[in-house]
Amino acid sequence: MGMTLAEKILAAKCGKKEVSPGDLINAKVDLVMANDITAPIAIRQFEKLGVKDVFDKSRVVFVPSHFMPPRDIATAEQGKVMREFAHKMGIVWYELGQAGIEHILLPWKGHVVPGDLYCGADSHTPTCGALGAFSCGMGSTDIAVAMATGEVWMKVPATMRLIYHGKMQNWTRSKDLILHTIGEIGTDGATYMAMQFEGEALKDMSMDARFTMTNMAAEAGGKTGLMIPDEVTIEYVTPRAQHEWTVYKPDPDAVYEKTFEFDASTIEPTVAMPYSPGNTKTISEVAKENIEIDQVFIGSCTNARMEDLREAAEIMRGRMIAPNIRCIVIPATQDIFKEALKEGLIQVFTDSGCQVSAATCGPCLGGHYGVLAEGERCVSTSNRNFPGRMGHPKAEAYLVNPPVAAAAAIAGRIVHPDEVAR
């Protein structure tokens, strides 16, 4: 029987010729990651295991991203715990000033490559699946055991195939394809499944754009999101790969639990309304509602890569953001910050009246650098808008693509980008 991309990778990682959905396997991991929220628990659990060393120092990475730079003493303590452990163990550690959001940092630095089984203690770990890796979010205890043994237990997921025909139009971006998809299949539509994204619309996409889609596999309940490696993938990976890689492709006779087909040319820029990423409307519908806003956030592991910043800057260039609006721009990593500086994008944002901050997850999870008060409304390029996600439980977050976010900052309300960029 043919195998899907996810099954191919998992079969290789557990040393079997073939695996099928539902099989319980013990698989070898290529990379293990934790951040400043999840590492402290992972460290505590690791120490209980009574193991002296991690399975491979070069394959365990800690990234301080969520509450960093520390916002208070408690978060500074968490940073200290992970920093000391990282130094003691000799694992890969990215210090502030060289770090950023893990899901953008690690593929950029070549730690994740095609064919990898990568487990991270963060739910947005599926992001790296855009490289053709099996990239899976887990909890801290799983990560502790993986750090010690280099293995994880796993149930082979069934695969959901999502095909995007046609080409995206005008202001539609990869973010809109995934928001639209979550709106269609629901936030638990892909629970326990691997989401295999493919089709004509993906062919022209940069890796930046592709990562946005696999990132939000988490919001559909997916165990991972994957894309089949092509020339774009190879070009991205070749100069940065830190270890050997293998390109796996699904068999033509692979069996899919479900298949969804979309016509990308008809998908409009999409807005996920409060309080669920699956509560979607088109920008044309939302623009009619005349929703006034307090804050715009351009950042997060979903949309804070160079392409995202370029597009937002393009809309803001020569324009001021609306009075009484705060716009916070956070490039995802220090490398991206430097590149944005070199390209003059930071100048554009600051000239437009935006606050630009150093790399962090920040307001996406209501951590710091832009937490919302009761009743405030934020247009955000991030991935979640649950009650209380970005601050007060009665604050509202609207999830959009970067051009729509930039246009909202200029207009002071949610508008179609055409209204601003014309």
């Binding site: 969520h66 208070d72 999870l365 439980p393």
Partner: protein, 166 residues
């Protein structure tokens, strides 16, 4: 395990179980202070040791934070019964030894404040208030091994010891 039921709706995500702002400790009791305060600000005032949480579909969706099951355990909750669970939350709970039972029928029928008795070995859920009985979806044997060992850490310790001895 026996306790009163505390009922919640569908899609209760981990930001609602324990908001990110409070993820600055790994101590179960400290985390429990803010457990479920978004959907039910009085939850912590009412909950007693051994009580049972009842939820709808996709309980625990969202972030991978293990603080969510830790906060629930810190609140004294002995078991969560839901129509369905999100993947990472389910896995985290098993790994920590928090019993999570899937039973759409029980989740529908049990009301706030009902007295519930759960037998994990058989997956039997009894509503002592209404005298109804339900059976939860059984755990796979492998997961039962983890639960019986007291969580993934203890389970792995045993495995590592066996490996070292052989």
């Amino acid at each position: 395990m026996k306790g009163k039921a505390h009922k919640f709706g569908d899609h209760v995500d981990t930001d609602q179980i324990i908001p990110a702002a409070y993820l600055v400790t790994t101590d179960p009791k400290e985390l429990a202070i803010h457990c479920m305060e978004t959907p039910d600000p009085d939850f912590m005032k009412r909950v007693k040791d051994g009580d049972v949480m009842i939820a709808g579909i996709d309980f625990g969706c969202g972030s991978s934070r293990e603080h969510a099951p830790i906060a629930i355990m810190g609140a004294g909750v002995s078991c969560v019964i839901a129509k369905s669970f999100a993947r990472i939350f389910f896995r985290n709970s098993i790994n920590l030894g928090l019993p999570v039972l899937e039973s759409p029928e029980a989740a529908d029928a049990i009301e706030q404040g009902d007295e519930i008795d759960v037998d994990l070995a058989t997956g039997t859920i009894r509503n002592l208030t209404t005298e109804q009985t339900f059976t939860a979806k059984p755990f796979e044997p492998f997961m039962m091994d983890i639960i019986e060992a007291g969580g993934l850490v203890e389970y792995t310790k045993k495995k590592l010891a066996a490996k070292a001895a052989s």
